[in-house]
Amino acid sequence: MAFIKNMLDKMKPTFSEGGKLSAFGSLFDAAETFFYVPSETAKVRGAQIHDAIDSKRSIFFVVIALIPAILFGMWNIGYQHSLAVGCTEECCLLNQFLYGLAVMLPKIVVSYAVGLGIEVAIAQWKKEEVHEGFFVTGMLIPLIVPVNCPLWIIAIATAFAVIFAKEVFGGTGMNIFNPALVTRAFLFFAYPAMMSGDKVWVNAEYMDCINGTVDGYSQATPLGQLAAGEPVSYSAMDTIIGTIPGSIGETSFIAIMIGAVILIWAGIASWKIILSTFAGGALMAFLLRYDGAQNFEWWEQLTVGGFAFGAVFMATDPVTGCRVEAGKWIYGFLIGVMAIIIRVLNPGFPEGMMLAILLMNVFAPLIDYCFVQANINKRLKRAKVK
């Protein structure tokens, strides 16, 4: 490891102000802090605390928590493909995984390349350091799109979200909306044919690891079947394990819950938001179930579609979510309620999680404000009595 340190130290003057490659200074800075924790902490004076651990390291836990969902998503791509082509002999677990890896990897590369490219360019332009928020966003984007989404569309949507949802507000930590969800919302409204329906969930391309190919293969997701008023052809066990078609990372309830445990254990995500989102969704699904608006078991609503993925990885975004502890209950609860309402009662949208979280992103500062004001008023009253 000393070798890397020496190399970075030797390269540093070239990239600093006035050096030959100062135009790539922020890129160097990003690489340096990626390998080594910066030694910079808060000055002795002042009331703030600035830990040496930067957001890059705390945020990386989210990527670690995503790993189960990523791995399962890759395997599920291959599994759905092998179901589609109907092959039996070479469809071992490894080949299905390799197939999924080959389909998935370009999406991850495109999402990171576009997003980080824009972030580095803007950081260099404003002479700031590169913010690390995109490490998570770049991983989330490939996980919330259908497997057949073309790469150039992902690139455009990522660029749109990074510029218009993040950088115009001032970069990481300043955004109102979750950039990954803005990416998905842009895709959803700009290219609806690529984001919903029954043609986009199963990749049927030919690749070496699994033989066979099919044309025009269509397979609906459970939510697609619900929206079309058809009986759902997947068992509850399928939806919990995740062997169903869907956006790449969202299918497996179990893999997402492993991620949730990691996030809560590491103290990154708020368990209050996750719990209250599920509570809100469960309540609403329960009411609509016995009101007769839907004939899908209420608890199954929580395991299909993007509900669990959104609750664990999107709603808990510390930047766009509520920051007041008591407000987190309301914030999460309303996301859950809204997601199920949109899903069941609005025929135009088979899935409501994305819109529910974006909507509550707007209201999060208002909830914070109300709780802070209530607290201020309470204390003022207490002060007057004396």
Binding site: P150, W152, I153, I156, F164, F186, F189, A190, Y191, M194
Partner: protein, 211 residues
């Protein structure tokens, strides 16, 4: 004062660039979002607003000394409404399809803040010729933004310009290509973002003058 003096030139060119009603004063945004999904209605709308602004400016400028101050808004509205009715009927007579596409937005030119703003701020204090130039300048400044936004939205949202297909059919995904039109561009939300981009570029280019 001569007809084409330097002051009159500034009255005309100001709203085209540094005092653009949409990009700088941020007026008339509502109609800019509503009519720009294609280029043709955007052009027609821009021209209609130009004509109405110019002539209502002239009429109000001629009447400015006789209008009682307390009812001036009503008088202005009557003049604008008369002109809007004329323009609306001309559109119905000669470009019926565009008139249908624009629907209520032609009538809503009455409420366009650019018009009322120019009448109040300029025509009430200046002579007819200056007011005419001011009206034409502001109308064209508005039309320019509409045309830019309409051009981008039609090109990216429908793949065509003025109804002519620009992006070849074979490039579309349905025909084995890769390309798909951006459906977001056909929605008013994207027009807002495009207008914002226009303002962004405009301010970046004119950084010095805006300070």
């Amino acid at each position: 004062m001569s007809l084409f003096s330097k002051e009159n030139g500034a009255v005309f060119t100001g709203p085209l660039n540094l005092n653009n009603p949409v990009a700088v004063q941020v007026l008339g945004i509502c109609s800019a979002l509503a009519v720009t999904s294609q280029l043709k209605p955007a052009i027609v709308m821009g021209l209609s607003v130009t004509v109405i602004t110019a002539f209502s400016n002239v009429i109000i400028s001629l009447l400015r000394k006789t209008i009682p101050n307390r009812i001036r808004i009503i008088v202005q509205l009557v003049v604008v409404a008369a002109l809007v009715t004329i323009v609306s009927n001309i559109l119905k007579a000669y470009v019926y399809d565009v008139s249908v596409q624009l629907s209520v937005y032609v009538g809503l030119i009455i409420t366009n803040c650019i018009l009322m703003g120019r009448l109040e701020a300029f025509a009430m204090q200046n002579g007819p010729w200056e007011s005419f130039l001011d009206g034409i300048g502001n109308g064209l400044g508005y039309a320019f933004v509409l045309v830019v936004v309409g051009l981008l939205r039609e090109l990216l949202g429908f793949g065509s310009i003025l109804g002519f297909q620009i992006i070849p059919d074979s490039a579309y995904m349905d025909n084995g290509g890769l390309y798909i039109n951006n459906g977001m561009m056909t929605m008013p939300a994207m027009a807002l973002i495009l207008v914002a981009c226009f303002i962004w570029v405009h301010r970046a280019v004119n950084k010095e003058e805006n300070k």
